[in-house]
Structures are given as structure tokens and as C-alpha cells.
């Protein structure tokens, strides 16, 4: 039997040198049913709100914050609400629905209950906020009260994060905190009584006088309290000389601090927690969407407040860090955008890798849906190198960070995907360095291989 296929002549498709006379005016050319809802669907968006006030300033915190002051707080909240209104009036923002958010600082609960109620009420009524949007807020055990907790819950905040740091009295004293572990536990019980089900505790390792035994004690207390998330951070003292602190017991050796990380990661995994961001652990279903989803799904974020970082309209940027200038700019009717960077298509792809791996895994199909490329092929060299170092594993579905080794090296993994131009440049902490930027234009990089550029194939 023989089968022969011949190309059927079609009236609208001619191959050169025959002239095609179909006047092209549409593309693509396969149509499927489309409806109004699909065309005008609102895409997801998130918000980050920075409340730069603390009732007690910690010497180990590098973030921009001010001692709570009644007049300044009031003025600031007026500005913050004005900034929210300014964003909310923009068509681009109205085309989106807020699905996630994070209220950090500072200490957001340094605000009074009525102030929190007023701020959240204004924000939730100004933006299109999805029912059940995933919002987290930060507090300290001292700054939370039944009244504030009730306001937060009524306004739709479902996850709350407490800066506990340690449950050891001596260590609490060494970091300048009220040294009553019972008070810390009671603040968590209070949140539960009020109705919070998703509670995170921040712990610190590397505190003056801390030992592996005392670290284990803090972890045990946190686990026994039944909280849904536990995060831990390495203690860093930014004040380099302090007459008050020089007589404290020394901080543990770096090797011990490293062991504390691995010990905690293993202990929490055994206790049923799943790791994300390397040093954050959550019971299944309790991981906050802010960060994980916003990075993996490339969801834009509105930054609100001084130093707040956002990602909108192909730019990442942060707001004016100086609170006085922030208030002035907002009250003049402008957005307080300070510094940032336009994100090209190839950098957008890299950004999704850099930030995506922080969630512990990058899904191949989801990545292809968002960016239209196969990252496994595009970053083959980087991925092979990370596999060889046993930092990640890969299969046909994507890549996964290996725990606990990969979690420990998570930021090394992220940086493997930086483009050469951005390697060896730091993360920002809210410093406005615009006065020092060279006025010389950065040479435009032209490439004769647009396919490579689009695919981000600028590897060595």
C-alpha cells in the first residue's frame, strides 16, 4: 500500500513566489470561545504596608523605624491613607484584585486599636480586596491586646506573626526584652482565644549566652504551644560598640550558630512543619501566600509606607525612606517612589527564578504558563551545577531545594540565577542613594540575537 500526501491548495495561503492576497490584520489565527468575564478578569495583586513605629526599639533591627509618637503617628496615618487613595484611583490598580498582603514594620500593632481599624477599613474599602484574601500582620507579644486582635480579625487579617525571639529569660534580658516567658505564652493564648488560627512565632539564634540546649528549649516551647508557623533568624547586633552590652556573655561561635540552623530545620521537619524561605516553617496549609505566591506567580505588589518595596508595571521599586519626605511627597499628591529598576523580559524571567526558589521549589509548567519558556532548558548549566552540589533536585515537574542543606544555602541558590550585571550588588535596606548615582547614561546593550536575549541566555 502506498500513502501519498499532497498539500491542498488554499485560497488564503500562498507560498512565495506565488503572491498571497489575504490582507493580514489579525493574529493569532485559531479562535476559541471567549466571554466578557474572561476579557475583563481582574488579575491578582498584593500589598505590602510598612508601619515604621515601635514602642521599643531593638538594637539588632536594621529596618527603618521610629519611636512611637502620637503626633507623628497621626500625621503618618493620614499620609498612608492618602497614598492608598492615590493608588486606588489608578485604572491599572482597579484592573486587579488584592489577593494577599503583608503588614510589617516596625511594629504595626504599635498603632492603637482604633487606628488599626481606621487604616484597615480605609485600605480594604479603597482597593478591590478578594473575599478571604491572605493577609499577615506583625506584632510583638507586648503590643498585642484583645481589642487589637479583635479588630484585626474583624477586618479580615487571618495570620499574625509574633516577634518572640526566645523563651529563655536570661536571653530575653540580653536582647533588651521583657524577660517573662509566661507573658509570651499568654500573648499566644490570647490570640487563640480571640480566634486566630494561623500564628507565627519568630525565634532568634546566635543571641548572647545562647547554647544549643537553650535553643532546643525555645523550639520545644514553640512546638508545644501548637503554633502553625515558626521562623528563625540569625541574631545580628548592628550597634558595634555599646557600653551596656560589652559585659554580656559572648554570642555563640559561628559554627554553633550554623548547627543551630540545621538542628532547628530537622527538628521542625520531624514535628510536621514544611520549610519555605529556608528559615521559615509552617504546618501544611498555613504557609502565607505573601512571598511564596507573589514570587512564584509573579504577582505585582503595591508598596505602601516609607521604604516599602513593591513590584508594579515592570518595575521593582521602594518608597522614600525618610518619613518626613514621605509624608510631604504623599500630601503633595505624588506617589513616594524613591529608587528601583525597570525589569526587562529576560530579567523578569531571572527574577522569577531568584525569588521563586525561595519558596523551595519552581514548577516547570507554571513557569512556562507565566513566562512562555522552559527554565529547565534555559538555566541548564546553573541547574546542573546546583544538582551536583546537592542543593536542589530536579525531575520533569521542575526543581526542588533539598532540605536541610539547600535551605541553609537558599540565598546562594537564589544568586546562582542573577544576571552578570547584578552579581555582587546587595539587597537594599531602604537607603536613598540617588544623590550618588552617576549621571552618565548606562550604555544600551544591543544584541544581534533577540532570541537569546528573550530567553535570558546570557550565560558564561
Amino acid at each position: 500500500m502506498s500513502i501519498t500526501t499532497t498539500t491542498t491548495s488554499m485560497p488564503f495561503w500562498k507560498e512565495y513566489p506565488e503572491r498571497d492576497s489575504e490582507w493580514v490584520r489579525q493574529y493569532p489565527t485559531k479562535h476559541v470561545p471567549v466571554n466578557e468575564e474572561e476579557v475583563f478578569t481582574r488579575k491578582p495583586m498584593g500589598v505590602y504596608v510598612h508601619i515604621p513605629f515601635c514602642n521599643r526599639l531593638c538594637f539588632s533591627c536594621p529596618y527603618i523605624k521610629h519611636q512611637t509618637d502620637r503626633d507623628l503617628t497621626r500625621t503618618y496615618l493620614d499620609a498612608l491613607k492618602t497614598e492608598i487613595t492615590n493608588y486606588a484611583e489608578r485604572p491599572y490598580i482597579q484592573d486587579h484584585v488584592i489577593t494577599l498582603g503583608y503588614i510589617g514594620g516596625g511594629t504595626p500593632t504599635a498603632l492603637t486599636a482604633p487606628q488599626l481599624d481606621d487604616l484597615l477599613g480605609h485600605m480594604f474599602s479603597s482597593f478591590n480586596v478578594e473575599e478571604g484574601a491572605d493577609f499577615s500582620i506583625e506584632t510583638t507579644p507586648v503590643d498585642i491586646s484583645e481589642r487589637k486582635a479583635t479588630v484585626l480579625l474583624e477586618r479580615g487579617i487571618r495570620r499574625i506573626s509574633l516577634g518572640v525571639q526566645t523563651f529563655v529569660p536570661e536571653e530575653l534580658k540580653n536582647i533588651g526584652r521583657p524577660n517573662d516567658p509566661e507573658m509570651l505564652k499568654e500573648s499566644i493564648r490570647l490570640l487563640r482565644r480571640c480566634g486566630f488560627e494561623n500564628i507565627n512565632i519568630d525565634l532568634m539564634h546566635g543571641i548572647n549566652g545562647q547554647t544549643m540546649e537553650s535553643w532546643e528549649h525555645s523550639l520545644d516551647v514553640a512546638i508545644d504551644l501548637g503554633v502553625t508557623c515558626i521562623s528563625f533568624y540569625t541574631y545580628m547586633e548592628f550597634a558595634q560598640i555599646s557600653t551596656k552590652r560589652r559585659k554580656l556573655p559572648p554570642v555563640p561561635e559561628k559554627a554553633v550558630v550554623d548547627d543551630m540552623f540545621l538542628f532547628a530545620a530537622e527538628k521542625l521537619s520531624k514535628a510536621g512543619f514544611l520549610g519555605y524561605y529556608g528559615d521559615c516553617f509552617a504546618k501544611p496549609g498555613h504557609q502565607p501566600k505573601y512571598g511564596e505566591t507573589s514570587w512564584s506567580e509573579d504577582i505585582p505588589i503595591i508598596p505602601l509606607g516609607p521604604t516599602a518595596t513593591g513590584h508594579l508595571r515592570d518595575h521593582w521599586y521602594f518608597n522614600e525612606p525618610d518619613i518626613g519626605r514621605y509624608i510631604q511627597t504623599v500630601m503633595e499628591g505624588r506617589l513616594p517612589i524613591s529608587m528601583g529598576k525597570h525589569i526587562t523580559k529576560s530579567e523578569s524571567i531571572r527574577r522569577s527564578m531568584v525569588l521563586g526558589v525561595k519558596a523551595g521549589r519552581v514548577n516547570r509548567e507554571r513557569f512556562r504558563r507565566i513566562h512562555g519558556v522552559d527554565f529547565m532548558e534555559m538555566f541548564r548549566a546553573e541547574i546542573d551545577d546546583l544538582i551536583e552540589k546537592e542543593l536542589i533536585t530536579a525531575d520533569e515537574n521542575g526543581i526542588e531545594v533539598t532540605g536541610p542543606k539547600g535551605w541553609y544555602y537558599l540565598d546562594n541558590i537564589s544568586k546562582a540565577f542573577y544576571s552578570p550585571e547584578f552579581r555582587r550588588y546587595p539587597q537594599h535596606l531602604g537607603a536613598d542613594i540617588s544623590n550618588f548615582i552617576s549621571s552618565r547614561p548606562i550604555p544600551l546593550q544591543l544584541t544581534t540575537r533577540p532570541k537569546d536575549e528573550e530567553a535570558g541566555c546570557d550565560h558564561h
Binding site: 558595634q240 560598640i241 525612606p321 550588588y425 550618588f436 552618565r440 550604555p443 546593550q445
Partner: protein, 235 residues
């Protein structure tokens, strides 16, 4: 591969500071900031000086002592040696004298003396100092070639000259990182950095001073100029 050689920060050309430290109140504010936060920055230069101290040494000289903190810090560790500092800015001398007064009040064991003099005419005999050191001052020297010659003149033949200052062409990422932390001091930091020399410019100064056999080493944010090769000190 796509990379850009364009520099982010405005540090291509050297911009000498017109009249640094010309306001006593600003100098006091600067000194207070240094006292509170510069101990880490002073650790490595201090360790480098200590690593070069030998038995039998008697005299150390600091050229351009700013507000005197490094001399006081080193002298406290070396109570049997005399540390003499020279500075040509009156405001810096006044604030350093106040710091010395406090050190004396606190019965500091250091033997320190601060003096105002031109840095291109150091008030010391030839071959009189075991260690001549300078930290974060070179960028303010009005006549750097002459001052380098003076450092060589007063240093004993078996002594060592150690001059540390910022490197204007240090890695930009490192500079940007520092700027995240200095916040209000960012302008001052950048003006100093703009006035600082690059490795090649420092080498050129040495050549002009007839000291081509000296060393210039780039180290993190800084340059280390020395009259002979130095052992590296740990961070």
C-alpha cells in the same frame, strides 16, 4: 553574554573636598558617630599595627589622626610605647584633645600626644618612628607627595609605614552595601570616597615621591599603602 562596564555610582573622577571639617559642631557630631559605630572599621587597621609591633620599639606616629580615636585605641593596647599624632585641621585637633582629656580622666594607660602641624612638614627628626601609620586621612592631604616623603623620612630604617584609606574604585556593590547602613552619614561618606584615590593613582603618588618600591594593595573598600610587604591580617 551581556554585561555593562558602566559604573552606577558617581566616582569616576576624583573630587577633592574643598574644606573638610571646617565646622566644629559638625566635627563633634562626626566624632560622636565614629565613637558609637566605628569600632569594627578600626579593628583591622588596629590589628595591622599591632601585628607589626616588635620588641624594642619606642615610638609610633599617626599622620592625620582625625579625632584621635585610632591613636587612643592603639596606645591603650601599647602602654609602653609613645604614640604621637599630627593633624593640620584645628577643629579635628580640638576634638581629639577633648577625647584625650576623657582618656586621661579614665586613667587610660596609653601615652598619647596630639599636635597640630603641616602634614608635609612633620615635626619629627629623621629615622625617629618605629611605625608611621595613617587611617582614613590620605584623601584629605593637601600635598600628598610631600607627606609621603615625610612619612618615609621620619620612619626608622627597620620600621614600617602603613597608610590606609578608602579606594575610590572599590567594588560598587560593596560601596552600595555600606550606604545601606550609614544612612544620614551617606553624604559625608561619599564625599570622602570621591576625594579618595584609586590604586593606580596611589601608585602614581608613590612614584612621584620616589617611593616606587612601596606597596599598594586593594583590600575590600580600601587601599593599604606600605613601605614593605605586610602579612595579611584576618577580618
Amino acid at each position: 553574554m551581556t554585561t555593562t562596564e558602566a559604573r552606577l555610582l558617581n566616582l569616576t573622577e576624583r573630587v577633592p573636598q574643598a574644606s573638610p571639617h571646617d565646622d566644629i559642631d559638625k566635627v563633634r557630631f562626626y566624632d560622636l558617630g565614629m565613637r558609637r559605630s566605628a569600632l569594627m572599621a578600626y579593628k583591622r587597621p588596629s590589628d595591622r599595627i599591632m601585628a607589626n609591633v616588635r620588641d624594642g620599639m619606642t615610638d609610633l606616629v599617626e599622620v592625620g589622626f582625625n579625632t584621635g580615636l585610632l591613636s587612643l585605641h592603639v596606645a591603650g593596647k601599647l602602654p609602653d610605647l609613645a604614640v604621637s599624632g599630627v593633624e593640620e585641621n584645628q577643629n579635628l585637633v580640638d576634638v581629639a584633645e577633648d577625647n584625650l582629656t576623657l582618656a586621661v580622666w579614665a586613667n587610660s594607660a596609653g601615652d598619647v600626644e596630639f599636635e597640630m602641624a603641616k602634614l608635609n612638614r612633620l615635626p619629627f627628626p629623621d629615622d625617629s618612628a618605629d611605625i608611621v601609620f595613617s587611617f582614613s586621612s590620605l584623601h584629605r592631604w593637601r600635598r600628598p607627595v610631600e607627606t609621603l616623603k615625610e612619612c618615609a623620612r621620619i620612619c626608622k630604617p627597620d620600621g614600617v609605614v602603613i597608610i590606609e584609606d578608602m579606594n575610590r574604585h572599590a567594588e560598587e556593590g560593596h560601596i552600595t552595601f555600606i550606604l545601606q547602613f550609614v544612612k544620614e552619614g551617606g553624604d559625608e561618606f561619599m564625599r570622602s570616597l570621591q576625594a579618595a584615590y584609586t590604586r593606580d593613582e596611589a601608585a602614581e603618588l608613590l612614584k612621584e615621591a620616589g617611593l616606587a618600591d612601596w606597596q599598594v594593595v586593594e583590600e575590600d573598600l580600601g587601599l593599604v599603602i606600605s613601605s614593605r610587604p605586610l602579612e595579611p591580617v584576618s577580618t
